[in-house]
């Protein structure tokens, strides 16, 4: 896909467009600047070594990564179904996939609890049979985070599959490759960039998740208290650590988002 005239068209954009874009940038940047201005720079090193910070950061990194793996595992096949199959009810399926993006996360968390909690639709029988309990464990955090992060993988990979098209797949099939071979050697290699983009977005989304996680998995230091939960509690007690935790979260998120550049739309 080539987009030759993009840069030049941008510089010819009318002035009001530029002005509004600047307003948009300020709107997004101003809160970050205010956060930086509140930061306790002098004691930063000590704050960063506080167990409340290190424990929450460790748990956040582990659970966000776990959630991303889970999202890739089911999200890529789901994207393939959306892009390549002609099942009836695909629009409904796509709406279902997008729902966690627009739903208040706390609703997702409560719904997960009703589904997978100790008295839940599936969680109840599961707990009675095996003693397995997702809430109050890091696995519960992974599940809640995966629920909110899954759309990012599915939508990104689906867009990638559509952009790549089916020409090469059809050519390979004509040459005698079976479906599995085509998938492994043609389809998947072509969408690696969109899979990577989806994974990074899902990871960043999982890292910042609060409502679904606290509602489903609960909140306990070292077990389920991720960065956003720790930030909320530290804010409650009016401590500087809240700002330090927030800065760490912003820094880590920017670190993974900046390399994405213009890979939002694969191609």
């Amino acid at each position: 896909m080539s987009r030759p005239s993009r840069a030049r068209a941008g510089s010819h954009a009318p002035l009001p467009l530029w002005a509004l874009a600047v307003v948009g940038v300020c709107f997004l940047a101003l809160p970050l600047v205010a956060l930086l201005q509140r930061a306790p720079w002098r004691g930063l090193g000590d704050h960063l070594r506080e167990p409340v910070v290190t424990e929450a950061l460790r748990l956040s990194l582990v659970t966000a990564t776990g959630a991303t793996v889970l999202c890739l595992l089911v999200g890529v096949p789901l994207a393939w179904v959306l892009a390549r199959s002609s099942l009836p009810g695909l629009p409904l399926l796509r709406a279902l996939v997008t729902l966690p993006m627009v739903l208040p996360p706390v609703v997702g968390g409560a719904a997960l609890l009703y589904a997978l909690g100790r008295r839940g639709l599936v969680g109840g029988p599961l707990h009675d049979a095996t003693g397995l309990l997702l809430p109050y464990s890091a696995w519960g955090v992974v599940v809640a985070n995966a629920f909110v992060a899954l759309p990012f993988v599915v939508l990104s990979v689906e867009a990638g599959l559509r952009t790549v098209g089916t020409d090469h797949e059809e050519a390979a099939a004509t040459l005698g490759a079976d479906g599995w071979l085509v998938l492994r050697r043609v389809t998947l290699p072509a969408v690696v960039p969109s899979v990577a983009t989806g994974a990074v977005l899902a990871w960043a989304r999982a890292l910042g998740e609060f409502g679904a996680s606290v509602t489903f998995a609960g909140n306990l230091e070292g077990r389920t208290r991720t960065m956003p939960l720790a930030i909320y509690l530290e804010l409650q007690s009016g401590r500087e650590t809240a700002i330090v935790l927030s800065l760490v979260l912003v820094a880590v998120s920017l670190l993974v988002l900046v390399p994405l550049r213009d890979r939002w739309l694969p191609g």
Binding site: L113, G117, R118, G218, L220, T224, Q236
Partner: protein, 204 residues
């Protein structure tokens, strides 16, 4: 509070009382940040003390007291009898986070009676704890007696738990201080006190 607000609206038909409900610590931060409120009522004197220190509120009055109770889901699935059961590791035990008054007071009481709770989750406020208890996703938690009627939970007395005073005050920045004082007066009047008693609060 909702009932008291409705009573105040009855007395002042051209007026609407708007309630902003939240954890005492959250409300404290909102008032300190200049929230456009007239009156603030909290579950905790420590939070109100910090508002008074910051000169954000006028004279503080006690409007009620509350006490801590054990709360269990309907049917008491964990067979909880008293505070000592909070140490049973096989039970799902919840407390409010220590940052919230209900969490701080519950921990202080458990320490006093020598119980080390095996906590599975720390709720950000008492409402979140009640919701989990009502759904039987926890076996036991500690809440205020006045909270019991808010959810499908059963209370079990905690002998020796302290009376917790609930303070109220008019904000220094109130737009209509006289009206705000009138609301506080209603809450402290026999009529207001009867409403609070009906909801499980003790006398101030």
């Amino acid at each position: 509070m909702r009932e008291l607000a409705a009573a105040f609206e009855d007395e002042h038909p051209d007026l609407r009382v708007r309630l902003d409900v939240g954890a005492s610590s959250t409300l404290r931060e909102q008032v300190l940040a200049g929230a456009p409120a007239e009156v603030v009522a909290l579950a905790d004197e420590a939070d109100m003390d910090r508002l008074a220190e910051a000169d954000a509120v006028g004279p503080v009055h006690r409007i009620a007291t509350n006490e801590l109770v054990l709360a269990v889901p309907t049917g008491n699935p964990g067979d909880v009898r008293g505070a000592a059961d909070m140490a049973r590791p096989e039970l799902l035990v919840g407390l409010c986070a220590p940052e919230a008054p209900c969490g701080r007071l519950a921990r202080a009481h458990l320490a006093e009676v020598g119980v080390t709770p095996s906590v599975d989750t720390e709720a950000t406020d008492v409402g979140a704890l009640l919701a989990r208890l009502a759904a039987a996703e926890l076996d036991v938690g500690i809440v205020y007696r006045s909270d019991l009627r808010r959810a499908a939970v059963v209370g079990i007395d905690l002998p020796g738990s302290p009376a917790v005073p609930h303070p109220i005050a008019v904000l220094r920045d109130a737009r209509d201080p006289d009206l705000a004082e009138a609301f506080v007066a209603l809450v402290r009047s026999p009529r207001g006190q009867a409403v609070l008693a009906e909801h499980g609060f003790g006398p101030p």
